[in-house]
């Protein structure tokens, strides 16, 4: 039976008693808890990708430089050969001219 003087404060204390969240609340919270970037799958993938880029890019740059150096060396060799051939041709031509002049002189 309701008392004549309804003690609303006492009843409020009873009504607002502590309540617990659902049973899987803790598991949900643990799942949502922030994890360090490097511990997350995405973080690990990003770190691996960074490492690959970090290792491959310098290797690629070095390879390109070596290729350029080889191209330069080849071009230099070809130039030397061309100059050598040109030198020989000039030498032969000069010798031929000298021979002809000598012949005329001897006549």
């Amino acid at each position: 039976m309701m008392p004549e003087e309804f003690d609303v404060e006492r009843e409020l204390r009873r009504a607002l008693h502590p309540v617990d969240p659902t049973k899987d609340f803790s598991a949900q919270f643990v799942a949502r808890r922030p994890v360090a970037f490097w511990k997350r799958p995405v973080g690990r993938l990003a770190i691996a990708a960074s490492l690959i880029v970090f290792l491959l890019v310098p290797a690629g740059v070095m390879e390109e430089r070596a290729r350029e150096r080889r191209r330069g060396e080849k071009a230099r060799d070809e130039l030397i050969t061309a100059l050598h051939i040109t030198g020989k041709t000039l030498q032969k031509t000069r010798q031929r001219v000298v021979r002809q002049l000598n012949r005329r002189g001897s006549i």
Binding site: M2, V8, L12, R14, L16, T22, F25, R32
Partner: protein, 150 residues
């Protein structure tokens, strides 16, 4: 404490759980900034109160149940069973946000009006006034129910 506060204020279990998770995530991130257990408790109550009020305002929860819509206890014996508490909880849920949070903090958390005033950044007189009006309203409603039962 955190879940109870949000739940009694919002009367919405999933939303109260979301708020509880958010509050604990924030606590987890700011764990280094607390210097005592009392500080943590104060911080938890304050953040939960403000987040619950914000959530209620955003989702416009207040009109979910008006005092007139609350079902009356069926008989005299029922004033001693859980129906009374349920009715009272629903009445509290029908209060506007600020007095509702004050009532929950006062009667669930057993906080003094001065502590509530500090936590909610409002004058002590305002807190006392909200408390007084809420209690009068709730008492009046319960008295009317009693008369109807007779």
């Amino acid at each position: 404490m955190v879940f109870s506060l949000a739940y009694h204020f919002l009367q919405d279990r999933p939303l109260a759980e979301d708020i509880t998770q958010d509050v604990f995530l924030q606590l987890y991130r700011e764990a280094d900034t607390f210097d005592s257990e009392r500080h943590v408790r104060y911080w938890l109550r304050k953040v939960t109160s403000h987040r619950s009020i914000d959530a209620a305002r955003k989702r416009k929860l207040r009109p979910r149940l008006t005092l007139e819509e609350i079902r009356e206890p069926a008989g005299q014996e029922e004033f001693r069973d859980p129906m009374l508490s349920e009715t009272l909880r629903k009445m509290v849920a029908g209060l506007p946000e600020t007095p509702r949070m004050i009532v929950v903090l006062r009667y669930q958390e057993e906080m003094d009006p001065s502590e509530i005033a500090e936590m909610l950044n409002m004058p002590l007189a305002t807190v006392k006034s909200h408390l007084h009006r809420s209690l009068t309203l709730l008492r009046g409603k319960m008295q009317r129910k009693k008369e109807l039962v007779r």
